[in-house]
Symmetry: C2
Subunit: 242 residues, 2 copies
């Protein structure tokens, strides 16, 4: 594939991945898991549990995109993965239905990375900035509100009823924002997401999140993209946003 | 229909109509029409023209909801009405395609009513607040951003491919916000919108906008609703938002 040279002036809107790219899911989920486990008198390594839970994320969405099952909200996939994981750890009996619902909601309230709000505010001065995540519309609305992130609008794979990296959510985002796919810049810290965006004709920005999976956790690095930045304020610098 | 007594505590999210309720379409469109007409050396009463244009709004959407035609974006309906209106005034020759596109975009940048931003900010402290308009998703995103209105998210009839007052946009909004229809409060200054919302099972708040259609222009008054307020800050008072 021959990459056309990237011209920041051709970009009219930015779409941001959320889990990992904008918010620190690992710290947030780990703390909430550890907290509830302690209340239930169960020993669980919160961070390790969060990592295992997240590892089930892409496969669970792949079953929707592959047509093995119809559309299922991310909360439903998270719940199924959680049920399986609690059994695997032999602690299923300690968590009732309400506990499990609370754990699923851990993904609804997660801390933003330190640079996220400030970087978005600068980028928003020049571009339309949208959240574009596999999280559901309501989940994202609550998450973005609680974290105080200044997005112009919320977009979600739910609106396409298919998950990233299928082309549908990227193209739905471009259509709703009334821009051509090549005028939309997808910002993410994951190679699989940017590859999906590129395949749909979007431009891509890689932001590194070295601590996404913990120290030494193997966060994506050196991902092919039109531009690469250390964080959201670095991206604002690169795109010339005051 | 027996109205259940309204309990503000049962409301989990607020959906706001935009044209007329949140922004002053008449002043905004009139100024932009008058400005372009002057540049083209044509005499046009901007406010009168805006009124006539707006009068074609409900009938044009009715043809989509009634199945006479498939989904058509509000910009398309606005353009068709504009073309007809310019001919009616005998000034069609003065406005080329670019002029007409510019006039359609007048509906994308409109001034907010004075109380809107402050009222929304207070309401947002307690509730999820969404824009829910017949304007398209991109149109609303641009309009809300330019006017500096602190909505948590943008919703649009475009997501349902049917226009208010059809039940579909109201129910789509509730579904995406993950609330029951009865937990969503529709805020509008138009009786037809609140009647549609009520028919879909939403709760309703009437906000009066006596100048929406100009002095003596016949803005809706005394519309049946669960609550009525003089403006958005009055609504924040009524709902106990500090």
């Amino acid at each position: 594939m021959t990459e056309a040279e990237f011209d920041p002036g051709s970009v009219r809107a930015l779409a941001f991945d959320v889990f990992g790219t904008t918010v620190d899911w690992r710290t947030g989920v780990a703390e909430q898991v550890a907290h509830l486990a302690a209340r239930r008198g169960v020993e669980l390594d919160g961070a390790g549990f969060a990592d295992e839970w997240r590892e089930m994320y892409l496969p669970s969405m792949g079953r929707v995109n592959g047509g093995e099952r119809g559309w299922a909200y991310l909360d439903v996939l998270h719940r199924e993965s959680l049920d399986e994981l609690l059994e695997r750890h032999g602690v299923g009996a300690a968590f009732d239905d309400a506990d499990r619902a609370e754990l699923v909601r851990a993904w609804h309230r997660l801390p933003a990375w330190d640079d996220a709000a400030a970087g978005l505010a600068r980028l928003r001065g020049r571009y339309v900035v949208a959240a574009l995540s596999n999280g559901g519309f309501a989940l994202l609305t609550h998450l973005v509100k609680a974290a105080g992130l200044p997005f112009d609008c919320i977009l979600s794979a739910e609106l396409a009823q298919l998950y990233k990296p299928d082309p549908a959510p990227y193209l739905t985002a471009a259509r709703l924002l009334d821009v051509a796919p090549g005028e939309l810049l997808m910002v993410a810290c994951h190679g699989w997401d940017l590859a999906g965006a590129r395949g749909a004709g979007l431009r891509t920005a890689f932001v590194s999140r070295p601590l996404e999976k913990g120290p030494g956790g193997g966060a994506d690095a050196d991902v092919p993209a039109d531009v690469a930045a250390r964080d959201f304020t670095g991206l604002a610098d690169l795109l010339g946003c005051p």
